[in-house]
Symmetry: C2
Subunit: 450 residues, 2 copies
């Protein structure tokens, strides 16, 4: 595959693709249009910047635009916002940051890697100062600056997903009083409620005030600054508000160009990351992917997925053949000392899909019981009754707990049964595990329930 490649978006998916193309095709013309000033940054690192675990904004940048230009000879242009795709003429209209100028650039192959943005409810006061969604590195810097220059006391986090929780911890670290509003009965509703309850408890322990089963309604604003968050039940004073109500794919540009969208308005792509429109590809947080366990499309915005999809797109764009096979839904987070992980399908999804399942939950230790710092770990496993097939897992526990989810993610991908899990030759030594790894203890329990 030859000709000019243009990539819209210079973060995980976009730059992974660009770098892959350059490795294969040393002379290929590659243009990257990035709206912000940054490339290849870790959006996942923003809570740690705000929480003070990381000093420098720059440390979140894996490779700067300059590095891409000099070392990779990739024409990265920051402050370049693509405002229109013309798929027939194969041209882009691009608005330059800081002035009204627009330019037009042609492409032979186009990769859309426009990412996602935080969901912002349409309520009055939404545009007041002190209300923040987090997506780009720039958005993280804005929060950081806002906290530094004022003397905010009360923070309210709306939504108890990964970003909401990590931000709640970050704000506690910065000395704020933090309230968190969550619509469902426990935080982190990608877990089943029984496991989510363990995370809720961990949050309370570090001082986060939780308002569960409570719906966000509106903001109270004075002098164009947020003053309070109003729920169906109360009014919470707020000097700063973080929106953690999920993300939406940035697909207005693709939609306007007539590119087919799928689940949750994410761009529909095939396994090679090709869209419905010739010579247009898409990857990362703006596309839909496949949950391997159900074969159904899902929209999950995660850096790992974006990187892998970028690599697949880059391989195909440089003449190779690669497919992204989908995901099993793995995610992990850390709330102070408590580690949280999940993969596969949760009970709600299993009920919705009509799968006949059983669940087993065990509480055991991260290390041999007698070894110093053996912490508690709770593992919940789900399996299919008719086939014995493993369906999913959730883990909440102390140091060393969460990464065990990868064993289950691997087993799910390989289609192992719950009984197969018991036979796995997992590693054991007292500093690392009880003699039966917690994952296998859970499998032994679940086999009986199937």
């Amino acid at each position: 595959m030859q000709g000019r490649v243009v990539i819209i978006g210079g973060d995980a998916a976009g730059m992974s693709a660009a770098a892959k193309i350059r490795r294969v095709q040393s002379q290929r013309e590659i243009l990257v249009c990035e709206k912000t000033a940054h490339t290849s940054y870790s959006a996942c690192g923003i809570p740690y910047l705000i929480g003070g675990l990381i000093d420098q904004v720059d440390s979140l940048v894996a490779r700067s635009p300059q590095e891409f230009r000099e070392k990779y000879r990739i024409d990265v242009r920051t402050g370049h916002e693509v405002v229109e795709i013309d798929p027939l003429a194969q041209r882009l209209r691009i608005r330059l940051d800081g002035n009204d100028r627009e330019i037009v650039e042609p492409y032979d192959q186009l990769l859309i890697a426009t990412g996602a943005r935080p969901f912002c409810p349409e309520v009055p006061g939404m545009d007041a100062d002190g209300i923040f969604g987090l997506s780009t590195l720039a958005s993280g810097v804005r929060v950081n600056d806002y906290l530094a220059k004022g003397t905010p006391r009360h923070a309210v986090v709306v939504g108890g997903g990964y970003i909401g929780l990590e931000m709640a911890e970050a704000l506690i670290r910065r000395g704020l009083e933090v309230s968190l509003i969550q619509k469902s009965s426990e935080v982190m509703d990608t877990l089943d409620p029984d496991m989510g309850a363990l995370v809720s408890e961990a949050l309370r322990k570090v001082g986060v005030q939780l308002y569960l089963s409570e719906t966000f309604e509106s903001f109270e604003v004075a002098d164009q600054r947020v003053k309070a968050v109003v729920t169906a039940k109360r009014k919470l004073p707020a000097d700063v508000v973080i929106l953690g109500m999920g993300v939406r794919p940035n697909t207005a540009l693709a939609e306007a160009a007539g590119i087919e969208l799928g689940v949750k308005q994410a761009i529909k792509v095939d396994g090679r990351m090709q869209t419905s429109t010739p010579n247009i590809w898409a990857a990362g947080d703006c596309v839909a992917t496949i949950q391997r366990l159900t074969g159904q499309p899902v929209h999950i915005a995660l850096g790992t997925i974006a990187n892998k999809q970028g690599l697949v797109a880059g391989t195909n764009l440089s003449g190779g053949q690669a497919w992204f096979p989908g995901v099993v839904g793995t995610a992990v987070s850390k709330i102070c000392k408590v580690e949280v992980a999940r993969t596969g399908l949760q009970e709600r999804e299993l009920r919705d899909t009509g799968i006949d399942y059983a669940a087993a939950t065990v509480e055991t230790r991260t290390r041999a019981g007698y070894y110093p710092d053996a912490g508690s770990i709770t593992v919940k496993l789900l399996g299919e009754k008719t086939t014995g097939r493993l369906l999913g897992a959730q883990i909440v526990g102390m140091e060393g707990a969460a990464k065990r989810i990868d064993v289950i993610a691997t087993a799910l991908t390989a289609g192992l049964t719950v009984a197969d899990m018991i036979d796995l030759d997992l590693s054991y030594a007292p500093p690392f595990s009880p003699v039966w790894d917690p994952v296998q203890t859970a499998a032994r329990q679940l086999v009986k329930a199937l």
Copy 2:
């Protein structure tokens, strides 16, 4: 299956089987003959006892003989050493500890779970005071007492396998000057030498004096106490010596009874843990198992394997149907802060087996590079050239490194290819991993070399 079950050996395999039988058959007569005073102890915990990380010997005992008698109604008799199996009469001759009395007990089904013992070279002075092998909890207690009552200064560890290394660390913690003699060019020869070199380096850093490519020859003894260890090149002063030269299965009893032995004189069993002799079963460190990747028999003495085999034997002995499918060769250890793990086949085995393979080694970080305490991790992956199949892995690194081996152990069991590894939906968040997990970074590298 009914009738009286007798089990020889009351540690991992024996007591796992006993407990399983009791759970299934509440009235079954179960007799356990244990030579020592302890049951169900963690031999793997001995180095931590000696190193002072654990205070109490008792904390290494998962369940005491009394507990088994009272809670499980299992007739556990300590100080009972079986000295002869009569397979025709289905009777055991048993020597009682502390007196010359012998008794005879009949069995309907017999499980041999006699474990393994440290290899002791046949050299003069081997029986001197101050020379220890480690196997039973009693042997650990003897080392502990010996160190406590004297004022030993110089320790020599002979052999750089897991036990040797863990004991070297323990003795350093106790303030001794520790030398370690290893026959091969690097310690831990279950790793390839390039990875073993990283462990050698870690040992030197904590103050262990290494003598590599050096052969143990003999002991120097005075007043029936060890004074020095003699190698082919030098004489090392020694107040205490730990033998870490590997273990041998305890199978003299089985051999004398005409039970078929296999690799390394370990008892040959089928997948159900049945020996060649009717009504006699065997499990744990005294049996041979199958390396799943080659289908060849191997002898590996590890608590995880013993527990699983005990469970399989117990299931079959109580009327169920279970098979032990073999191992992939997973092992893990920690030397001060350095974590070491391996699974699958190493280069030497691949050469011996004639498998056409490629290797890739990457050095990366345990966490996102910018996250506090991101440590280094080196991952070596091996894959088959003709099929792309994953063959093995070795990991050396800081906190969080070693348990990643379980992903590879799972992938090996499932028969995944190296390319499949790249697609795995492994967990990512900055406290846990770079966006590409080190295992996947290694897989990306290896795919190019296949």
